[in-house]
């Protein structure tokens, strides 16, 4: 909170503090993101994140349109995970208007969301290693598998990344049996990829030297600062909204919530690997249990939905943390207030606390382990 130049120089000596503007276009900043860093030698003594370069007032755009028209915009929040963004939004609308979802749609939602989680975590680990200087190999391994998942999304929804797939009350289109078989085949192959990925990286000396003890986040601070998702669980707090809220049909699946001990970058990296394994367990169970039936309640008015005046907050466990949507309805066709709870942005709150006292080179990997997407931070 403190750390004016004069204060810092009074401790370090005149002329000993160097100001560096990291960003907005360094490749490992994961987008257009800047950090104002003050350094004493190589040590970080102050760090302020600066963002908003991609701000387009997403919330205002959604307030100007009908409930249905906000769904494609949610794709563009966290553009790696459009399926979970869709789900978060439609869940909030379903709570606001009291809409029930057919069984088959719930299963397909789980399958789509868990595939999203898998490709997000794989991609994140690849990017994190890229930040650490392992140029290419781990990222390309991750992208090879991500490509297969994006192909599945394309045959399901018509788009690889901007899926625009879920609707309040269900889904836009049904999946075919052939598609489910393809997912089954892929799910059967993916554990081998996780093994290969983990063997490639886990015992790597450079990875351990760079990440263990770097960017430590205590669990008290993590809770108070509202950190969610794998980052929170790496600090040892058992809080997974799939388990806490049991939204959708997550109470039917048997899976565990991996927890970390130290809250450092290495734990955050391991958390992603372990969650990928749990995700595959959920996928297997969902593919076994998926019933036949309708995918959307035919009575739901997609166009011209007018929920009763009131408000609702719906949240899901997105790959990056708690993704929530807060809607206020005044009884008209547009939401009066539409608010996104962006996990990426709130997880950045404690970036300075994690980086203070670290070397400047570790700032980049600490940021990489937070897992931000600027489309969601800036909205």
């Amino acid at each position: 909170m403190s750390g004016t130049l004069a204060e810092l120089e009074s401790i370090a000596g005149p002329g000993e503090i160097m100001e560096v503007s990291m960003g907005p276009h360094h490749p490992s900043t994961h987008g257009v993101f800047r950090m104002d860093v003050r350094l004493e030698g190589e040590k970080v003594v102050r760090l302020k994140p600066v963002f908003g370069y991609l701000h387009r007032n997403h919330e205002k755009i959604a307030e100007h349109g009908a409930y249905l028209s906000a769904i494609p915009y949610t794709d563009r929040l966290d553009y790696l995970c459009s399926m979970t963004n869709n789900w978060g939004y439609v869940l909030a609308v379903e709570k606001l208007a009291g809409i029930a979802v057919p069984e088959r749609a719930e299963y397909i939602r789980v399958i789509a969301a868990e595939l999203t989680r898998f490709q997000n975590h794989a991609g994140l680990v690849g990017f994190l290693l890229q930040d650490m200087g392992a140029s290419g190999t781990p990222l390309m391994y991750a992208f090879r598998e991500r490509e297969k998942i994006l192909d599945l999304f394309e045959s399901l929804s018509g788009a690889r990344m901007m899926c625009n797939y879920m609707r309040f009350g269900g889904l836009r289109v049904d999946c075919t049996t052939g598609w489910l078989d393809e997912v089954r085949q892929l799910t059967a192959r993916l554990p081998r990829f996780v093994d290969e990925f983990e063997n490639l990286l886990r015992g790597n000396e450079i990875l351990m030297a760079r990440t263990q003890g770097t960017g430590v986040l205590s669990h008290e601070l993590a809770i108070n600062a509202g950190v969610t998702g794998p980052m929170l669980r790496a600090s040892g707090v058992n809080y997974d909204i799939r388990k806490v809220d049991k939204y959708g049909i997550y109470d039917r699946f048997d899976f565990r919530v991996p927890l970390g001990d130290h809250g450092d970058v290495y734990d955050r990296y391991m958390m992603r690997i372990l969650e990928m394994r749990e995700t595959l367990k959920i996928l297997e169970q969902a593919l076994r249990g998926i019933p036949e039936g309708p995918i959307i309640d035919p009575k739901v008015r997609l166009r011209g939905l007018r929920p009763k005046a009131g408000e609702a907050y719906g949240r899901i466990e997105s790959p990056k943390g708690e993704l929530g949507f807060f809607l206020i309805s005044d009884g008209s066709t547009n939401p009066y207030r539409y608010r996104v709870r962006p996990p990426s942005m709130i997880n950045l709150t404690i970036l300075e606390d994690m980086c203070l006292g670290q070397n400047v080179a570790d700032v980049v990997i600490t940021l990489g382990s937070v897992d931000i997407v600027l489309g969601e931070v800036d909205r």
Binding site: F51, K95, P307, G310, E311, A312, Y313, G324, R341
Partner: protein, 202 residues
């Protein structure tokens, strides 16, 4: 997940725990039934600390902070009123007359806090704080000293709505640039004309 008290119990519990505080239950008409508690600004921080540290509630996690802009509004309702009317013979008679009444509600800015408990795994408990109006008295107390997660989100509400959070450690614009003057999320915000030639040929 342990059950939470009803909004009315909450009101009683908070008013007993924080002497002098005034809590109003704001009912929510939607099927979500997420009712909220309006807290007076003078005791807001004490109430927040009470909710965070209460051994049964332990609302240690403030998930969402957001601003809402409520414009001046006028509601008209038709009311039947009994009035004395001069009858045809000169005597006064009591008859029922329908009257339209207009109630004006001045606009205000509001901050909404969604609280959960990571310890007890319950929630949400929704707090609302209201500023006096939308123009010159837009101050409400900041809850960042209680929940650090409010830091960026209160900055965002300041940036986009113009709510001034008293006691916030670092209240600056966060998404818009520093030289920006208006508050773009307000309901009466008029964006500048989208004409690239306007500056060249005014």
């Amino acid at each position: 997940m342990s059950p939470l008290p009803t909004p009315e119990d909450f009101k009683a519990q908070i008013e007993a725990g924080v002497p002098g505080s005034v809590v109003t239950v704001i009912p929510n008409g939607s099927p979500s039934a997420q009712h909220s508690l309006l807290v007076d600004n003078d005791h807001a921080r004490a109430v927040a600390l009470f909710l965070r540290d209460h051994p049964d509630l332990r609302l240690d996690y403030c998930s969402l902070v957001t601003g809402v802009d409520w414009l001046d509004s006028e509601t008209t309702e038709k009311v039947k009123v009994k009035k004395l009317v001069d009858g045809p013979d000169g005597s006064q008679q009591e008859t029922e007359v329908e009257e339209t009444r207009k109630t004006k509600r001045p606009g205000y800015l509001e901050a909404v806090y969604h609280l959960f408990s990571m310890d007890k795994k319950h929630g949400p408990v929704i707090l609302r704080l209201r500023a006096a109006n939308r123009t010159d008295q837009t101050n409400i107390p900041s809850l960042t000293p209680v929940w650090r997660s409010a830091e960026f989100q209160e900055r965002e509400a300041f940036d986009l709505y113009g709510i001034v959070f008293d006691g916030h450690p670092d209240l600056r614009r966060i998404l818009m640039w520093d030289g920006f003057v208006d508050f773009p999320m307000r309901k009466d915000y008029v964006p500048p004309a989208d004409d690239p030639l306007a500056e060249v040929h005014p």
